[in-house]
């Protein structure tokens, strides 16, 4: 396989916690991202899932250096982004774009769609391919490109003169996507691209993102909390928990057989719109909430909530993200992954296991 487009090694983003008015003493760090390795191949979609506060958005921003990483490196197309000065970085950004979650807050309410779309072109200029089609950089060629882009994302040309508030959520997200794609980037990081949208509109935007990937040969890093959405569009999925990736696998494999206890619990917690499936599946509940990233648990970060927790190793040894034997090169950060897979290690606390709803006493009396 050719060289990967994006290679992240040991990336860390630690935010200092400051105390005091006069002297800003640093009393600790929020370890939002704490040692993440990931590789994204060209043309691939890498999905990043995790609950709120697990650091997935910070990771996305740190890759683009919208947030300055405190450690580790990001290599984009063979070049280390960390070492780039501001001007080379700015030039590099034309190849890496971002789609944000909430289009209403990421689009300037006082700018018309035309100026929103031509702004990236003013900053970076038309791409090589577009220059052949639309001519040299000029207001005219930029406007032509903007209107062509609107067509691609499925908005009418009349939208150019309108303002963001005049559109519905789905249309606004289309504008956000058009703005990211107008420079013909190589990598697009989409941070929760559909979670602010109505259910019936989400599918439109997901299909649009997929269509654009085929059309423009894009590489995606999709960040979302909804595993069903991520699984639908991703080739490879990384599951994040408290600043680290705990499992990485092909999206089909991940669904067929989750290996990390957190993934297992996450999968079983996602409601599926089918009563037959819902009634028959077994659920594994997690106790409590996400621990504070300022003071992560020792050893495995998941051990405080892990239903499979064992007496040894879990609370003392930090598990590395390693390939699991006999599972086709899947990466899992759990000491007991093999044993859980073979069934040698069970859910330790039976109260965390919700058996399928069979013979609920009230069921017969209903209706």
């Amino acid at each position: 396989m050719s060289e990967p487009l994006l290679e992240v090694t040991g990336l860390e983003v630690h935010f200092p916690i400051k105390r005091g008015l006069v002297f800003d003493r640093t009393v600790g760090h929020v370890r939002a991202v704490d040692g993440v390795d990931l590789t994204v191949q060209r043309g691939q979609t890498f999905g990043l899932v995790g609950e709120s506060g697990c650091g997935k958005s910070t990771l996305g921003r740190a890759i683009l250096r919208l947030e300055e990483p405190t450690g580790g490196s990001v290599r984009f197309d063979g070049r280390d982004l960390g070492g780039l000065g501001s001007e080379p970085l700015r030039k590099m950004r034309r190849r890496m774009q971002m789609v944000f979650q909430d289009p209403l807050s990421s689009l300037d309410p006082r700018a018309s769609v035309e100026s929103l779309l031509t702004e990236p072109l003013t900053v970076h200029g038309l791409s090589e391919a577009d220059r052949q089609e639309f001519g040299r950089d000029s207001t005219k060629s930029h406007a032509a490109k903007a209107s062509a882009m609107l067509d691609v994302v499925g908005l009418p040309g009349s939208a150019l003169a309108k303002y963001p508030h005049e559109f519905s959520g789905g249309q606004r997200q289309r504008i956000g996507i058009a703005r990211a794609m107008i420079l013909n980037p190589d990598l697009v990081i989409a941070d929760e691209p559909v979670s602010a949208l109505d259910v019936s509109v989400q599918a439109q935007v997901i299909n649009l993102l997929e269509g654009l990937q085929d059309l423009l040969g894009l590489t995606y890093l999709v960040i979302a909390h909804d595993l069903a959405v991520v699984r639908h569009i991703s080739d490879v999925i990384g599951v994040m928990y408290l600043g680290t990736i705990v499992e990485q696998a092909d999206s089909d494999d991940l669904y067929a057989e989750p290996l990390h206890p957190y993934t297992i619990a996450l999968m079983s917690a996602i409601p599926i719109p089918d009563p037959d499936v819902e009634d028959r599946r077994e659920r594994i509940l997690l106790r409590g909430d996400l621990p504070s990233p300022a003071n992560p648990p020792s050893g495995c970060r998941f051990h405080t909530r892990c239903p499979y927790r064992q007496a040894t190793r879990c609370d003392t040894e930090v598990p590395a993200l390693r390939p699991v034997e006999g599972a086709g090169g899947r990466l899992v950060a759990c000491h007991w992954a093999e044993d859980i897979r073979s069934g040698a290690v069970h859910v330790a606390d039976p109260t965390l296991l919700v058996e399928p709803d069979v013979g609920v006493p009230a069921a017969g009396a209903r209706g």
């Binding site: 609950e51 709120s52 519905s168 789905g170 249309q171 109505d198 259910v199 019936s200 509109v201 989400q202 599918a203 439109q204 997901i206 299909n207 997929e210 909390h225 595993l227 069903a228 959405v229 699984r231 639908h232 669904y255 619990a265 996450l266 999968m267 079983s268 917690a269 996602i270 409601p271 599926i272 719109p273 089918d274 009563p275 037959d276 499936v277 819902e278 009634d279 028959r280 599946r281 077994e282 509940l285 997690l286 909430d289 109260t351 965390l352 296991l353 919700v354 058996e355 399928p356 709803d357 069979v358 013979g359 609920v360 006493p361 009230a362 069921a363 017969g364 009396a365 209903r366 209706g367």
Partner: protein, 381 residues
């Protein structure tokens, strides 16, 4: 072990219920032809809810599903009498044990609300008072509705929080809402709603602001309440997955009207309204084979037609024809088991699917009795 999955202690809730055995066949709440119209002075009237009817029995969960703007939350607010009186016209009936909540004097409604009717709101951050400790907010309900001393109320509140799965409740009682995590805040809100062991609980998107693993905990807690205490519940949500796992019957709302109403299995197995059908086809499912493109519903929920001009969904419907543009489409019984649909060209019944359902040994019986949730217990994952 004394604590169950959600931390609800061994069925103490059941023993403590002052209401005695519940008659599960009594209709607890019956909403008839509810209409809510908003009108600003000089503005155009907007009908947010247009003739909604449903009934809830004890131990039953009725789901109301819809997208934003479909009128599902306004329905619940109207039933609870929480809409402002100015600029709002509410008509129809909401009979709770035979008394119409919509015409009840404010004083009597206040006595009922919190004691027999309770509500869990979507966003605990905006429905809890940020400058009042959680404990005070819980005891407030107890002191208002029950004749108990402050000390007893405090003990009771501590007990409530513990039963709702909040660890270390004594400390939490003194804390302010911002010191609690999202899941805990939602649990505190549920504790407040449950303080007087209400007979009817209305949940307005109780888990939308929560992460899935926390959502699973909260849903499990609600399920235990319904099964053990016989609480009647109205579940308002946009998440079809939550509905599939929790509700007994489902009402799908679109633009202020119920467009389809059926028992849970019937609705998901044989959706007849084109909107329901479209919704189910457009959401990515975790267990669906990959690579299948989603079939989205075109347009946005804002592209509606007034119901008096025709089917409100017609502008977005792939099967819309000229005869869809007729005023006042009725909600008609269609097919089996109280399945009601408001559609001129409903989806055909899946004959093959029906057959496969019947022949499948595991789910035998479920197609003939949609409410029978006692299906075979094969593990799926």
């Amino acid at each position: 072990m004394s604590t169950s999955i959600t931390g609800v202690e061994d069925r103490t809730l059941v023993r403590r219920s002052a209401r005695g055995p519940v008659n599960r066949n009594e209709v607890l709440l019956e909403v008839r032809d509810l209409r809510v119209t908003f009108q600003r002075r000089g503005g155009v009237a907007t009908r947010a809810v247009d003739g909604v009817s449903f009934a809830v029995k004890p131990g039953e969960v009725v789901g109301i599903v819809g997208e934003s703007g479909s009128g599902k939350s306004v329905t619940s607010m109207a039933v609870m009498g929480l809409l402002p009186s100015r600029g709002v016209q509410v008509s129809g009936q909401a009979l709770y044990r035979g008394r119409d909540l919509l015409t009840l004097p404010p004083g009597e409604l206040s006595d009922l609300r919190g004691r027999e009717l309770a509500m869990v709101f979507q966003d605990p951050m905006s429905s809890l008072n940020p400058v009042v400790p959680v404990g005070t907010q819980v005891t407030e309900v107890l002191l208002r509705h029950q004749d108990i001393s402050r000390a007893d109320a405090r003990d009771e509140a501590e007990d409530l929080l513990r039963r709702c799965g909040i660890p270390d409740p004594r400390r939490r009682l003194k804390e302010y809402p911002h010191q609690l995590s999202g899941g805990m805040r939602q649990r505190a809100l549920i504790a407040i709603a449950l303080a007087c062991k209400p007979a009817l609980l209305i949940c307005d998107e109780p888990t939308t602001a929560l992460d899935v693993t926390i959502q699973a905990q909260v849903l499990e807690l609600l399920k235990e309440l319904v099964n053990d205490l016989g609480t009647a519940m109205v579940m308002i949500t946009h998440d079809l997955g939550v509905v599939a796992g929790l509700c007994d019957s489902v009402n799908v709302m679109y633009a202020g009207r119920v467009v389809e109403s059926a028992a849970r299995r019937e609705l998901f197995g044989h959706p007849r309204h084109r909107y329901t059908e479209g919704l189910l086809a457009s959401i990515p499912r975790l267990d669906a084979p990959r690579g299948e493109p989603l079939r989205p519903i075109p347009g946005t929920p804002r592209d509606v037609l007034g119901w008096d001009q025709g089917c409100a969904f017609a502008p977005r419907c792939r099967h819309a024809a000229d005869d869809c543009i007729v005023g006042d489409l009725p909600l008609e019984p269609m097919g089996r088991m109280g399945h009601e649909v408001r559609c001129v060209h409903p989806a055909p019944e899946h004959v093959e699917r029906l057959r496969s359902d019947l022949s499948a040994p595991v789910v035998a019986g479920t197609t003939t009795d949609a409410d029978n949730s006692a299906s075979g217990g094969g593990e799926l994952r």
